[in-house]
Amino acid sequence: MSAPAVVLASADAELIRLVAAAFEEEAVPLQILAESISARAAAVRSPLGIGLAVDGAEIVVALSTGTDGAYLKGPVGDARLIGRAAARLAARRPLGEFAA
């Protein structure tokens, strides 16, 4: 059985560092896939049903069910904050400033 984790699809080392820091701070497991897939596809691969990926200049958080589009997104430069929101989503905490 897969361990519960949110899936980040990226091979960008700095992006991974920032998103992983957000997940470490929230104590939520993150799994990295060095593949070029959409956030939705990453979410489908996530046992928690939450995935992250970069789409153009944006980092996108998607859910595996209920919606085809982005549940959350923001500029790649805000990867730490978007990562924090995704981790909090998994931990069922208020998402903070990137919830809007």
């Binding site: 470490e24 209920g66 919606t67 549940y71 909090r88 069922r92 905490r93 208020p94 998402l95 919830a99």
Partner: protein, 562 residues
């Protein structure tokens, strides 16, 4: 003759259009409702009346020739918090309560506050608590580890950003580290401070105990007693910071409560520990220049079964105050007379009009007891064979809004919605938890800003209104009902006492905006259970529910004079 019965309430204005022919019952044509513009009874409130009359006339294709008004008394409603933290007497101890959900480590420690950049050279002989500003967590951890290697005794860490766990994992996961601390720049470097992080699910113990706090901060026994407020202020929080203030060491000035002067010449402080006297007993209130009919005040409700929340609410010393005053002018009547083409007639007191309107409730016959629960007042009208009494008490729906707004930290307009509609907690994008603990599943995800928040339901567009409050829905529901009970049912009790009691077994009809709120109706019914009354919700003209009793009643009373 087409007439408009107009009820200008503190929150809502209602217009009842009717055609009157002498010797015949009125032909009731419409009831229109809108928000009151300006304060009740002022010239500004005329605009709302004229707009509603215009709207109703347009629908009917005919304008009224007479506006019928009640004799009005306005209510002022407000809320004062006497003890914001900065004003509180903390006995020479500064406090901070970080809001972060993810502090690091567990335990309490005390040391000298020092900037991260100050951890250079020979270490200080005493323990230190470094303050980490908004810098990268890896850089901060490197600097902290180097300082520890050089002999600095780091016993706790205060972090400005959301990096507590990250730094703890790289330095020492057992150290108490509080993060997301606002205004770290204001923490006095060099001062002695204590930091505590409680285990998950627990709250601070050491900082919430005045003697332990005093020991941690090296306060002498005299000042230890003075630190009790600081200790109480930290009670119920997962993490906290306390700083010894060296300069003043004394109490800050507390805001004093207003004084109410009673009819017997005595005074009573308007505070959370005092209760308002009987109806009409307050004759003057400090800083309020008005000819008072009644005054009522209420604190924030107590959170039953949650001592920490109760204490947090109590520490704010928030008091909602409603004041009912006699009008010294006829501003509304004059403003209407200057703008309305027809006549403006003051028909009767609101009380008499409410009884007449409530009596149109099917099955009521003549309603001998009418309880009009509006925005500003709870009015009791008793019309029995041997006595006729009308009591108006200050404080009703708007005061409930103020109290609910203070609990939730929202403005009174938003609180009005929160008061009326059930709340939910959005557990996940697809699961809502309701006030009774039941859960529902959503087929499309809730908006991200609502996740893990208490939300008000029933927005017109179907979306949820996310609140910042961390209250659970069941806790908020209890507080909301308690506020309704204290204000509406409490005021009604005062009115009944002032009226000399009510006959058992008699019919009491509830009207007014608050009577649309099922929770208020049930709270009133429970509060009056000992009186054995038949309490029923009004249905004015059999079609308007408990609304428009005064507006329709004015039409009925005026018809009797033709």
């Amino acid at each position: 003759m087409l007439v408009a019965g107009v009820d200008v309430g503190n929150a809502t204005t209602e217009v009842a259009l009717a055609r009157l022919v002498a010797g015949q019952p009125p032909e009731h044509l419409s009831v229109t409702r809108g928000p009151t513009t300006g304060a009740k009874g002022t010239a500004e409130s005329a605009q709302g009346v004229l707009d509603l009359v215009k709207r109703a006339s347009r629908r009917l294709g005919e304008a009224p020739t007479r506006i019928l008004l009640a004799d009005l008394h306005p209510v002022e409603t407000g809320l004062r918090e006497l003890a914001a933290d900065s004003e509180e007497d903390l006995g020479g101890v500064g406090i901070a309560r970080p809001v972060s959900a993810t502090p690091s480590g567990v335990g309490a420690a005390a040391g000298q506050l020092i900037d991260l950049a100050g951890l250079v050279g020979d270490p200080l002989p005493e323990p230190v608590i470094p303050i980490v500003g908004l810098i990268d967590f890896d850089a901060a951890a490197t600097a902290l580890n180097l300082a520890r290697t050089n002999g600095w005794q780091i016993v706790a860490i205060i972090v400005a950003g959301d990096d507590g766990v990250l730094i703890g994992n790289r330095v020492d996961a057992t150290l108490p580290i509080v993060d997301e601390v606002a205004d770290t720049d204001e923490l006095p470097r060099g001062a002695w401070a204590a930091v505590e992080v409680a285990p998950l699910g627990a709250t601070v113990v050491q900082l919430a105990d005045p003697l332990r706090l005093a020991v941690l901060l090296s306060l002498d026994p005299t000042r230890a007693r003075g630190a009790r407020n600081a200790a109480r202020a930290l009670l119920g929080h997962r993490a906290g910071i306390a700083v010894r203030r060296e300069a003043s060491g004394g109490a800050t000035e507390q805001e004093q409560p207003r004084l109410a002067t009673l009819a017997d010449g005595s005074t009573r402080a308007i505070d959370i520990s005092t209760r308002p006297p009987g109806v009409g007993d307050v004759v003057a209130i400090e800083d309020i220049d008005a000819d008072l009919i009644d005054a009522f005040w209420a604190p924030l409700p107590e959170a039953i079964d949650d001592a920490a929340l109760s204490l947090r609410l109590r520490q704010r010393r928030a008091v909602g105050l409603a004041v009912l005053a006699r009008r010294s002018d006829r501003a509304l009547e004059q403003a209407l007379a200057g703008s309305f083409a027809g006549e403006v007639v003051v028909v009767a007191a609101e009380t008499a009009a409410a009884v007449a309107g409530a009596s149109t409730t099917p099955g009521a016959g003549h309603a001998p007891i009418v309880i009009d629960m509006g925005g500003g007042t709870v009015d009791l009208h008793v019309q029995l064979e041997n006595r006729e009494v009308a009591i108006a008490t200050a404080g009703a729906g708007l005061l409930v809004d103020r109290i609910c707004g203070a609990i939730l930290g929202i403005d009174p307009l938003r609180a009005e919605q929160a008061k009326r509609h059930p709340s939910v907690h959005v557990e996940t994008p697809f699961i809502l938890r309701h006030e009774d603990g039941s859960r529902t599943f959503l087929t499309s995800p809730a908006a991200p800003q609502s996740v893990a928040h208490l939300c008000i339901t029933e927005r017109q567009d179907g979306s949820l209104d996310a609140l910042e409050s961390d209250l659970a829905p069941e806790v908020w529901a209890r507080l909301r009902r308690a506020a309704k009970r204290a204000i509406i049912a409490g005021n009604l009790r005062r009115a009944i006492t002032a009226a000399g009691g009510l006959p058992r077994g008699e019919l009491a009809v509830l009207v007014g905006g608050c009577a649309e709120d099922a929770e208020i109706v049930s709270e009133v019914s429970l509060a009056l259970a000992d009186l054995d009354l038949a309490i029923a919700r009004g249905d004015v003209l059999g079609q308007h529910g408990p609304r428009a009793a005064v507006a329709v009643g004015l039409v009925l009373l005026h018809a009797e004079t033709l």
